[in-house]
């Protein structure tokens, strides 16, 4: 046993250290972590081995069709359907959410019924239905119900497979997004609209300037999730039938060449790539709407920084505490073997 003053003779005492006799303790041994990590690595290696060595995957074919013109065109249509339907759905959803919060009972129940119907029936059924619209109503006209008609057109001329697919996806998605927006609007402290009202702001301004920007913080993460989900839901537009999207294009090639597996890999690769890009975009949007909340915008705001602008200033005290890593805020830390 070392005498006091003689302990840790190997430790170089830093005279500039404000903490005399700083603790350099050995961590608790955690052999379980090593064992579980090794087991997982072995399993992962087995999976990679299975992917690479199985010739039936035909990675040469995958590589060839990854850049096939029909596949790339399919990617384009899939992106167009995804973003087009999300934009329409977001606009509809904000409208539905505002209607749902309105004092007008007609508005409220129309919104409720819309959400009830479009959430309550499968997207596949809805897409088939929109595809059959031309059979159901061969001619569409605009006019007063039971009264005069102003103009008329043939349904199949206007509602082509693409528009049926786009609106089919959008109308369905709007119902889900409306609930997300409603939750977001509800998450904003009522004191916020009260303060805005006391300043003489009108309801519309209060919604667009005060409530919605704060609700975005709650709305964006699930909406990003919905966008990623929509990317893959577009593979159902075959039901309309719309036949140019990524899934249909790769399936068609796969069936023609009798190589379905490599073409599935092609589709999977593209979906994964787009999802990864969407995740990056979501990160920046979340950071933008998180300004003024939490540690994202620590320090005073510099200039008007856009979503991509570097806005990190002086780190807050809380950031420094977190960065030092001496505070265990991970609830799983203690139970990890």
């Amino acid at each position: 046993m070392a005498l006091p003053g003689q302990n840790a003779p190997d430790r170089a005492v830093d005279p500039s250290d404000p903490v005399p006799d700083r603790i350099h303790a050995r961590p608790v041994p955690r052999p379980g972590r090593w064992i579980s990590a090794v087991v997982l690595l072995v399993l992962a290696a087995m999976a990679v081995h299975g992917l690479v060595t199985n010739e039936k995957f035909r990675w040469d074919v995958v590589w060839l069709y990854l850049r096939d013109v029909n596949v790339v065109r399919g990617v384009g249509w899939t992106l167009l359907l995804t973003f087009g339907s999300m934009v329409i759905a977001i606009v509809l959803a904000v409208g539905l959410a505002v209607m749902r919060r309105s004092d007008n009972p007609v508005m409220k129940s129309v919104s409720w019924t819309y959400i009830w119907f479009f959430r309550g029936t499968p997207i596949y059924t809805q897409l088939v239905f929109w595809g059959l619209l031309a059979v159901l109503y061969p001619r569409l006209s605009l006019g007063v119900p039971f009264g005069p008609e102003f103009f008329e057109f043939r349904t199949q001329d206007v509602i082509t497979a693409f528009w049926a697919a786009l609106f089919g996806l959008a109308l369905n998605e709007a119902a889900y997004l409306a609930e997300i927006v409603r939750a977001g609007l509800g998450s904003v402290d009522p004191g916020q609209s009260e303060a805005a009202r006391a300043l003489g702001m009108k309801d519309r301004k209060i919604l667009t300037r005060i409530v919605l920007p704060q609700a975005m913080r709650v709305i964006v993460p699930p909406t990003g999730n919905e966008t990623i989900s929509m990317l893959k839901t577009t593979s159902l537009v075959l039901a309309v039938p719309f036949t140019l999207d990524l899934t249909y294009a790769t399936n068609a090639i796969g069936n023609r060449t009798f190589l379905p597996i490599p073409l599935l890999m092609v589709a999977a690769f593209w979906y994964l790539l787009i999802t990864s890009i969407l995740m990056v975009g979501q990160y920046y949007i979340e950071r933008y709407y998180g300004r003024g909340f939490g540690d994202q915008s620590a320090g005073p705001r510099r200039r008007r920084g856009g979503p991509g602008g570097k806005r990190r200033g002086r780190p807050s005290k809380q950031d420094l505490i977190a960065a030092s890593g001496t505070t265990k805020d991970d609830p799983f830390l203690e139970v990890t073997p």
């Binding site: 402290d189 004191g191 916020q192 009260e194 303060a195 805005a196 009202r197 006391a198 300043l199 003489g200 702001m201 009108k202 309801d203 301004k205 300037r209 005060i210 920007p213 704060q214 709407y289 300004r291 003024g292 909340f293 939490g294 915008s297 620590a298 320090g299 005073p300 705001r301 510099r302 807050s316």
Partner: protein
């Protein structure tokens, strides 16, 4: 707006009743606040003092009575037809215009968290009055300086202390050039050491001649700054008068016991 004279009170409350469902919160309140004076409203919690303030700027719809600010009836239009007076509710746009002339400071600040201190102060002049942004920015900077926060203009509310947030909230209300300022327990949510900085800004504001209605528990502030002190209990005004009278020589038992508790 009706013709106003200097002798007319800024705020005139007549027979004000407010019910929340079956709950009778204000039971006939009559009150006058002269121009340029400071009226401090005291009372136990639940006495209706905050509700009174919120009725003055129409954040609550009143159940009975009349409120006039600067001679103008708030929230309603009186129409006399065949000798009968009928009240018509004002269009929300008109109500918003009436509110814009009254500044309000809340107990929990209610600053807009997604905007910097400067943007908080600029928001209403730009969005409500249509002030050009550059002009609003200059004015907002002046107001932040007036409340001693010139160096905090670029900070978000979450980066400010409670006292600083409340001072930004005061600057935000002043940016609309109000003729009346309402303070709803402005220091009740603050750490004791931060109360002083907010009261000092309010004191300066009172000295500058602003008409103020202040709901507070700060008896010292009432004694020093108030022109009139109103003591409310159970929805009615129990006692009112100059601070030395109401605080120094209260006549009613209820006032006496309340002051004994808070002093």
């Amino acid at each position: 707006m009706s013709a106003t004279t200097d002798t007319e009170p800024m705020v005139q409350v007549e027979g004000l009743h407010k019910m929340f469902g079956d709950l009778h919160v204000l039971k006939g309140v009559d009150l006058e606040v002269p121009r340029g004076s400071v009226c401090v409203v005291l009372g136990p919690s639940g006495s209706g003092k905050s509700t009174l303030l919120r009725c003055v700027n129409e954040l609550e719809e009143i159940t009975g009575g009349r409120i006039r600010v600067d001679g103008e009836l708030m929230g309603y239009r009186e129409v006399t037809k065949n000798g009968r007076t009928v009240l018509h509710r004002l269009h929300p746009k008109v109500v918003a215009r009436q509110r814009a002339r009254i500044g309000m400071v809340f107990q929990r600040f209610n600053l807009f968290p997604h905007m910097t201190a400067l943007e908080n102060v600029m928001e209403a002049p730009v969005q409500v009055l249509g002030t050009p942004k550059a002009q609003a920015r200059t004015r907002a900077a002046e107001l932040l300086e007036r409340v001693g926060l010139a160096d905090r203009a670029g900070h978000y509310p979450a980066q400010l202390s409670g006292g600083q947030q409340q001072r930004v909230a005061i600057a935000r209300a002043l940016a609309m050039d109000p003729e009346l300022m309402l303070f709803d327990e402005p220091t009740s949510a603050l750490d004791p050491e931060l109360v002083g900085e907010v009261l000092s800004v309010m004191r300066d504001l009172a000295r500058s001649g602003m008409t103020m209605m202040v709901v507070t528990h700060e008896i010292g502030f009432a004694r020093e700054v108030a022109d009139a002190v109103v003591f409310m209990d159970e929805g009615v005004i129990v006692e009112e008068g100059p601070p030395e009278q109401v605080l120094g020589d209260p006549q009613h038992e209820r006032t006496k016991s309340f002051l004994a508790h808070v002093l």
